[in-house]
Symmetry: C2
Subunit: 161 residues, 2 copies
Amino acid sequence: MTANFEIEPLDKLNFNAFFSLIEELAAYEKLPPPDTEAKKRLKQDGLAANPKYNAYLARSDDQYIGYVIYFMTYSSFIALPTLYLEDIFILKQYRRQGVGTKFFEFCLSRAKALGCGRIEFCVLDWNTPAQNFYDKLGAQRLGWLFYRVNREQIENSKLES
Amino acid sequence: MTANFEIEPLDKLNFNAFFSLIEELAAYEKLPPPDTEAKKRLKQDGLAANPKYNAYLARSDDQYIGYVIYFMTYSSFIALPTLYLEDIFILKQYRRQGVGTKFFEFCLSRAKALGCGRIEFCVLDWNTPAQNFYDKLGAQRLGWLFYRVNREQIENSKLES
């Protein structure tokens, strides 16, 4: 079965649907979803003249069924921008119908159009369905460890900006 | 022993020193360094009005001894920008003198000034000196797997932009 859908950019009209999908992804990843203040920032940051992230939604008839978020990073060794894929998410009932593959192909075409030398992303270590999906598409799993410093650590740093 | 040094932004005058340091890092990481074409792009992309990456160098007297590269990504769950730390590199003879820690503190202060909710970065799995360094500074190693799609795969995608 193949879902019939269109990919459209985030805008004022589909923002609430986008936000609901993010809440669904947070539940799936067992991570806390954005709160009300975060929702406001997300809207402002995504719909600004120079948006802080790029988001596209998949719409099937009048139902929004998934989204992708990416931004530009950069490789100093190959001196080309990298398309950093932050999230691909598809509602459970629309999975295994080619939507994820279409989103990935969409990212490949954006990367090509933007002159990127690489696409990079991270997958949770327990998320084997996602790993199988990306492995099948030919992405290479590299031996890098992923680190994070959180907001409290940034705010409590004794340093002056 | 503590090295005496200043942190200064990348500019036209220090670009060649910056490029030599990148070549040193590539050798250390056993990865191919940028070629002549890449050097041109790196200069253009780093010194543009809207640079594609942010770079700062550490200078000790008239010797450039290290650099840091970062860019802004974004967390959709906390709806705040992330400072993504691409590289910290210090010439071998200047290591273990506090330069790396100063660079990391510089990133913390930049993240604070830019209103970031997180700092994120990747470390090669065999690079235990770097892992020990970041562990000591309090960064959390997360269970994410890092993936990449390379330039050939992007260019050979059958898709139109």
